[in-house]
Symmetry: C2
Subunit: 329 residues, 2 copies
């Protein structure tokens, strides 16, 4: 694939990837010109397992220090790009890593866990999930967690969070919040996508919606690149081109047991039929295909500045507003 | 108490304190001219409880930021002294905070846990304790833990560790190790004190012995200041005055339930008779009495340079040799 000069030169930030990380995956990011990614370290796991996952990431980063660095700021992302390395931001797709302890928000922030989704697919002590029949809204503990995330410089991610909880979280946060990997429900009506009320709650406060390439939220493998980019175009018209980013939700190199884990965790028995991964569209199989998105964004009429914003600069602006708030030790 | 100009001006480092930390304790450190202390965060606790303890220390430091800072280097200790604040180094008296996971050495180092004793009073997965009838020596996991402590810049503390394990640990470490709070057995014959073989293994490799004021290791409340300082003098003659420091083992503001916890943890039922704290000698009740030690050291003939070394500069030299080794993220 020819990579356009814009893509090659741009800071490309992927709002979320949940790969089975290996050197091969890092090489895919290199091939796709991805500068930085929010890498999910845990989904259902609690305090101890999440701490071990940080330890594993430290080791992985050291083993692959020629290809990547762990990063916690826009500045570090830009420096990594200049040095020809991928910047990985550690993230969690659940507040389960904090257990019942608001103090662990700062502790995990000290360890570089900078982007945390309030809930995964189930209600938790913080709020309601997008898959729950009834969304509790943000709890009292949830309000404390957001206060701690604000003061410790951790970005609140609402992607799998229920709509009511999402709006209340956006209102509770002193700094922008984000949807790292979802689309508008007017594009595909799916619990994981967001109605206009949530999109407005996030973007009107400076946050970004990371348009997502996971098959289930784009309408399956038959979705077209043009259709995806037209959705991005319409969303940019709706909320402003500086409020839109990308969050691929790449799931590279997992076998089917992992999708079963994502769905059933330890909250229910595994499915009687083995869960399987959905088929990705031919034009986006993984990080290597990011240049196609850049081409697609130009094709639907975005300017170069707008394309650079959507590819990464909009995420960096949010990081700049959220991460420096750190009051930590 | 009049504080001598030397004491007031010196960097005074306490090799170990295990207080029930509060603002009142910090004020005692201020009154005693203590510049820095290795504060025990956990003793028997595992991964999760130790992580919570770090969170609690972050909060405590923030609430008392006019009196203290969390520090992880000699430079930060000197800066804290210049700013009129106490520098606290976080430490653990057991490797239980690492669980079964050598990767957590680096993770806890990232959180500022810079001084870790290999075992508390019981054998663990790393090695043997001074109270065990048979000392296993350093285990294979223990060797890995020391390698990780070396590369992550964590000082190995041997105070409660068995003699064989201690000698093997000193040999396994690429940088100096320490006994933060014990005395020679030739002073008081107690499992917690150290025979010459251990003292030599530590000091011949650049490490420091922190002479300890805990009643049980100085011969009880009847011990005299002069006798303690004469012990320090003889030890300095034996290993060199730059290999000797102080580690008070202060236990301020705990009730008797805590001494029971220290002794019985969760490894045996509590004593049938309630455990009680020993009585401290009249001349050393806590951090406020550190100036008396300075006077006592002068009284047994140490020069001002030697006194400054014993009070803190010797610890700082060890910190300089151990802490910068960090290869972490």
């Amino acid at each position: 694939m020819n990579i356009s000069p814009t893509h090659e030169d741009a800071i490309v930030v992927d709002g979320l990837q949940i790969n089975n990380w290996s050197r091969a995956v890092l090489e895919e990011l290199v091939a796709g010109g991805v500068s930085a990614a929010n890498a999910t370290i845990t989904v259902w796991e609690g305090i101890e397992e999440s701490l071990r996952a940080v330890g594993e990431w430290n080791q992985f980063a050291r083993r692959n220090s020629d290809l990547m660095v762990l990063a916690g700021s826009s500045d570090e992302i830009r420096k990594a790009k200049a040095a020809g390395k991928i910047a990985i931001l550690l993230g969690a797709q659940n507040t389960s890593l904090y257990g019942d302890d608001y103090r662990l928000v700062e502790v995990y922030a000290q360890l570089g866990v900078k982007i945390v989704q309030l809930t995964y697919n189930n209600q938790n002590t913080v709020g309601g999930s997008c898959y729950e029949p009834h969304d509790s809204g943000l709890t009292r503990f949830g309000t404390n967690i957001i206060t701690e995330m604000n003061s410790s410089g951790v970005l609140v991610d609402l992607s799998h969070v229920g709509n009511r909880t999402s709006i209340e979280a956006a209102e509770a946060s002193a700094v922008p919040v984000a949807v790292t990997h979802s689309n508008p429900t007017w594009f595909v009506d799916n619990p994981r996508n967001k109605p206009d009320e949530v999109i407005t709650a996030v973007t009107s406060r400076g946050g970004v919606i990371g348009c997502c390439l996971y098959p289930n939220v784009i309408g399956g493998a038959e979705a077209t690149l043009e259709g995806f980019c037209e959705m991005v175009r319409r969303l940019a018209d709706q909320v402003g081109p500086d409020r839109v980013g990308l969050g691929s939700d790449c799931t590279r190199h997992w076998d089917d047991s992992f999708v079963e884990w994502l769905r059933s965790g330890r909250w229910r028995p595994p499915s009687t039929q083995t869960a399987t991964w959905p088929t990705w569209p031919q034009w986006f199989n993984g990080p290597e295909d990011f240049p196609r998105i850049t081409d697609g964004l130009f094709a639907v009429g975005f300017t170069e500045t707008e394309v650079r914003g959507i590819l990464g600069e909009n995420w960096l602006r949010v990081f700049d507003e959220v991460f420096p708030g750190q009051e930590g030790a």
